[in-house]
Symmetry: C2
Subunit: 342 residues, 2 copies
């Protein structure tokens, strides 16, 4: 019987592509299932590799993102995966499927945005592929980074009792996307700018990731691309633990609160399930909690917030005012039904 | 004034993406412009990286390729780039943009073809990305390989006097594509099978590439993906030399000759300009010519053929019966006008 792949869902498809009969080579320290793959290059040096594909109509709409912003974003979302390992990005490869009717100015904008981001982090573009496609643009970027073997952070190190921390407010990017999609004009200029900037120009937390890894502060880490609940779920699955998030602790910006008030929505829907924040979420042993908060504040001027705790068991639960908050959907799934655009 | 990117052509677009203000890091031995990028990992070990994007409607049509063949091919075309450096493939990353209406059987076929090829060369799939696209499927594969620093072959080592060699007959893949596209039924079964197999199931010449590199036989090498004239042109450009191809020496299979006879076409149009042969083309110093031919024959049972000579100057010229053959178009260009499907 014919069955559409949308029945499998994104994670069902990924499961199909786990190799069963080929053993991982000796140099493979992490393959599928973490933010990056990790290869042992010897002498305590590791190569980390991540790749992301962005498709027009699925990830972006040129109605509300300029090609320049898109180029910048294309690289930044990959940098965020490198940040989540605590590694240093070095070089990237870019494949572009471009419709022939794209205009040169648009392509130059894309290039400039990409190169802006590359210059900011001193990244070499080392190759790629350029092809014509029929309808919509698609970009695939592969990013290489380096780290030392003993200071990488995986998704798998969380233990019961660990504090769950996030580095910045959550849901702003989803709020920005909502504004762009709905052409929502009832919000003040400053709030609008804060939210749309969070969506259009996210900043990978590379310095933070590196510091948390180097100082052994984080036992498990992930970047939030599909919403706190879903992404924290990946840490839980890999670490074989559960997590309890306290909704009242989840940091929500003034601007997101203003949008939610104005539109009659619950800001926690954005903060718990909104995608593309590219903020780090990590687990810290309880005895280090205060020290980590202080160090982030003094060394990097970053406010980190405890949002919950790792527990024995499995899955992510959200506590709100003494009860469990109902989780309508976990987060973004490319082949599932979501509230989000794509 | 608005200008479509098709005016730039594939290579014009690639030129726009050469970084001007960022210096290559110390570990970068080759970036854009060769079959693979090469990174020095220290201790004489190098990492080689290549990436290719295949789009439905541009590179394949599911009317004449099964998803299983497609999965196999997707990996094989990248392996051919590794072969052209003389390196050993190790691991890959796969990003897939899939329309939601693809059926599960098709996806499983793709997976099985891909894993067949991976098993044949003991390759680890280490990650990727899975997204939904609106219309047509797109695949982006990044392949990592390894080699020792002193036995890699680049495009840039050719010198006047070197013999230009190819490993196998040329144009069969283009002949096969012609058959598939035109649904051409006037050819014998065996010839049909030979040609369509060459197109649907090419085999990267990994062993050959490795041997030519290890024994220092090849001074410059490339795999033929866009036709001899165009790809040899890349060797010429990188080596700052010219090349003269002798059309009468170009190896054309019996099956391709039969197709050309039958369809009233010139087999050399396929052999000189047809893409996707994935056969190695390399330059050998004159004093090694006989030895290389013998060694390939006895050690690997591969017939290699001299098709011309490197000369001072630039560009590729084709000599045919005492005159210069007119070169109508150089080979495949994704954004140009070609005779080929896409």
């Amino acid at each position: 019987m014919r069955k559409d792949i949308s029945c499998l869902g994104e994670f069902g498809i990924i499961d199909l592509f786990k190799q069963k009969d080929i053993k991982a080579h000796d140099w493979v320290m992490a393959g599928m299932g973490d933010d990056c793959a990790v290869l042992d290059l010897g002498l305590n040096i590791c190569l980390v590799v991540t790749t992301d594909m962005l498709a027009e109509g699925s990830h972006f709409d040129l109605k509300w993102i300029s090609t320049r912003q898109l180029g910048y974003r294309c690289l930044m979302v990959n940098l965020s995966d490198i940040a989540a390992m605590g590694a240093v990005p070095k070089a990237f490869f870019l494949s572009m499927g471009l419709p022939k009717f794209w205009d040169e100015q648009g392509l130059l904008g894309f290039r400039d945005g990409l190169f802006d981001c590359a210059a900011r982090y001193d990244l070499n573009l080392l190759g790629g592929d350029t092809i014509a496609v029929q309808e919509r643009a698609v970009f695939s970027l592969t990013l290489l980074g380096r780290s030392t073997k003993d200071c990488l952070v995986y998704r798998s190190g969380a233990q019961p009792g660990d504090r769950i921390m996030v580095a910045g407010s959550l849901g702003d990017s989803a709020g920005g996307l909502y504004l762009l999609q709905k052409q929502f004009y009832r919000l003040g200029d400053e709030d609008c700018a804060n939210l749309t900037n969070a969506h259009l120009r996210p900043a990978a937390q590379l310095e933070l990731g590196r510091m948390l890894a180097a100082q052994r502060f984080a036992k498990a880490m992930i970047d939030l691309s599909d919403g706190l609940v879903q992404d924290l779920g990946h840490i839980c699955a890999r670490s074989r633990v559960g997590a309890i998030v306290d909704a009242d602790l989840v940091p929500v910006s003034k601007s997101l609160r203003a949008l939610a008030d104005c539109a009659g929505l619950d800001p926690l829907d954005f903060a718990l399930h909104g995608g593309e924040d590219y903020v780090l979420c990590f687990c810290v042993p309880p005895e280090l909690e205060t020290r980590v908060i202080q160090t982030c504040r003094t060394q990097l001027q970053i406010e980190i917030t405890k949002v919950g705790e790792i527990v024995a068991g499995s899955g992510v639960k959200v506590r709100q005012g003494g009860a469990w908050r109902k989780i309508a959907h976990e987060g973004f799934n490319h082949f599932g039904i979501t509230k989000r655009y794509r």
